[in-house]
Symmetry: C2
C-alpha cells in the first residue's frame, strides 16, 4: 500500500475550509454531475463529505457509497449526511468490494494527493461494471495567476506545489488527467476546464475563493512550510498578505482552473 | 501619439495565422458577440479583418466601421469583406470621428500591444453615446500551461511576453482588464474567462490552436528573438519542437485563457 500523506492536514479549520470551498464552487464543479436513479456510485476519498452533499442532492435515487481512509473525516461526513449515504472506512488501493459492482465512480481532489494515481485508477476500474465511468475533478496549482502579481505572493504560492510534491502528490495534476485516464485503459475520455475567475465585481468569489479557498490553503500549510524553511518567514507573510489585499481591494483579479475528466471503460 | 510596435509583425504567413486562428476560436470568442440591428459599431484595430468577419456575420443589420493603422492589413480586410464594412485607416489615439457617435466599440487583441491601453480606452469612450459599451477580447500569455512541460518550451514561451514588454505592450493584460476598464470610468464591468483546452481527443484544437496559433506565434517572433539573443538558439528550437511534439502526440495537453470584458459607460 502506498502511504498517503495529505498535504492539507486535518485541523478543524481546514475541514471547515473544505466545506465552505465546496459550497462556493458547487455550481461550477457539479454542473455536469448527473447519475441516473438506481445507479450504484462509489465516491472514492470523500473526506468530510464536502462534495458528497452535492453529489447526493444532484442525483436523487442514486445509491452512493463513500469511502475514505481518515476516520475523523468520515465521522464528520456521517454526522452531516446521516444514512443518506453509506460511509465506509477503506483504503483506496484495496477496497472491500467485489469486481464489477459499481456503475460509476467519482473522485474530487483525490488523485492530486496520491503517489500512484495511475495505480489507483487501475484498481478502481476493476470495480466498474462494463460501460461504467470514472469522473475526477482536480485542480492545477500551476493554472493560478493574478493581478497585481507580486514576487512574494508567487513565492508563497509555489510552496504549495513544492510541499505536495515532497509528499508524493502532484498539485499540477489537472493538465495530466487526459494522459492518466488514457494510460488506465479508458475507451472514451472527456476533459473540461472549469475556470474560476474573481474580481471586485464578484465579491462572493473574491471572499469565498481567493480568500477562503486559496489563501485558506496557504494558511493550512503555513506551519509546515515555515518549519521546513521552504521560504523566508517575512516573504511568506508578505505573499499571503498580498493575496489578501488583492481579495479585498478594488483592482485585483484572481484566476484558477479546475478540470473535470470523465472516462468510460468498456 | 504613442508609437505602436506590433510584436507579431506583418509577414504574409503571420496574416494567414491570424485568420486561421480567428476561425478556430470563433465559437469560443464570439459566443457573446451580439449587437442589435441598427447599432453603430466601431471596431478599433481590425488588422486583416480576421475578427471583422465574425462580428459582421453574427450581427446582421449592424453598421460596422473598422479602423487600423496598417494600410496593407486594411487592404487585405477590404479585399475579403468588400463593402459590407467601412474600413478606415486611422490612429487609435486620434480617430477621425466626432464625440458620442458610436453605440458600441469592439477590440480584439489590441490593448495588449499598446503602450498606453488606459489612454486608448479614455479616448475611445469619448466616441460612445451615453449608455454605450466597449468590449475587449484579450489573451494572457501567463495563463498558458501544458503537459509535458519542458524547461525549453517554458523558456521559448517566456520570450513572447518579454519581447512584447520590450515593445511597450503587455502580453499578460487579460488579468488587468477589470482594473483598466474601472480606471477608464466604466460604470458596469463584466469580465469572463474564455478557456481554450486542447488534448488528443480534440485534434482540431491541437492543430488549430496548439500548433497553428501558439507555435505559430513563436515562429512569427523567431527571427527577432534570435537576433536579440534573448535565448540560446538550441534551446529555442528545442522548446518549439517540444510544443509541436505535444500538439501532435498522444499524451499532451495545452491550456490557454482569453478574457472578454464588456464595460458600460454612463
Amino acid at each position: 500500500m502506498a502511504e498517503l500523506r495529505y498535504v492539507h492536514g486535518y485541523a478543524p479549520e481546514e475541514l471547515d475550509r473544505l466545506v465552505g470551498s465546496a459550497n462556493t464552487l458547487a455550481a461550477l464543479l457539479h454542473g455536469d454531475t448527473r447519475y441516473p436513479p438506481g445507479a450504484r456510485v462509489l465516491e472514492a476519498g470523500c473526506g468530510v463529505g464536502a462534495q458528497t452533499r452535492h453529489l447526493y442532492e444532484r442525483c436523487p435515487g442514486v445509491d452512493i457509497v463513500s469511502i475514505d481512509l481518515a476516520r475523523p473525516s468520515l465521522m464528520r461526513a456521517k454526522a452531516a449526511l446521516g444514512d443518506a449515504v453509506a460511509f465506509v472506512q477503506a483504503n483506496l488501493y484495496a477496497l472491500p468490494f467485489g469486481e464489477r459492482v459499481f456503475d460509476h465512480i467519482f473522485l474530487c481532489y483525490v488523485l492530486e494527493h496520491l503517489p500512484d494515481p495511475l495505480g489507483a485508477l487501475q484498481h478502481l476500474r476493476a470495480l466498474l461494471k462494463p460501460g461504467g465511468t470514472i469522473s475526477a475533478i482536480e485542480g492545477d496549482h500551476g493554472s493560478a495567476f493574478w493581478h497585481p502579481e507580486t514576487a512574494a505572493a508567487r513565492a508563497a504560492w509555489a510552496c504549495l506545489q513544492q510541499l505536495q510534491t515532497q509528499g508524493g502528490g502532484d498539485g499540477h495534476i489537472g493538465r495530466r488527467l487526459h494522459a492518466l485516464f488514457r494510460a488506465s485503459g479508458a475507451v472514451d475520455i472527456q476533459v473540461k476546464p472549469l475556470p474560476v475567475y474573481c474580481d471586485p465585481t464578484l465579491p462572493d468569489m473574491m471572499d469565498g475563493f481567493a480568500d477562503k479557498t486559496i489563501v485558506g490553503m496557504l494558511k493550512g500549510i503555513e506551519a509546515e512550510v515555515l518549519a521546513r524553511n521552504m521560504i523566508a518567514r517575512d516573504l511568506w507573510h508578505q505573499g499571503v498578505q498580498d493575496l489578501l489585499d488583492l481579495a479585498h481591494g478594488d483592482e485585483g483579479s484572481f484566476m484558477y482552473t479546475f478540470f473535470r475528466a470523465t472516462a468510460l471503460y468498456a
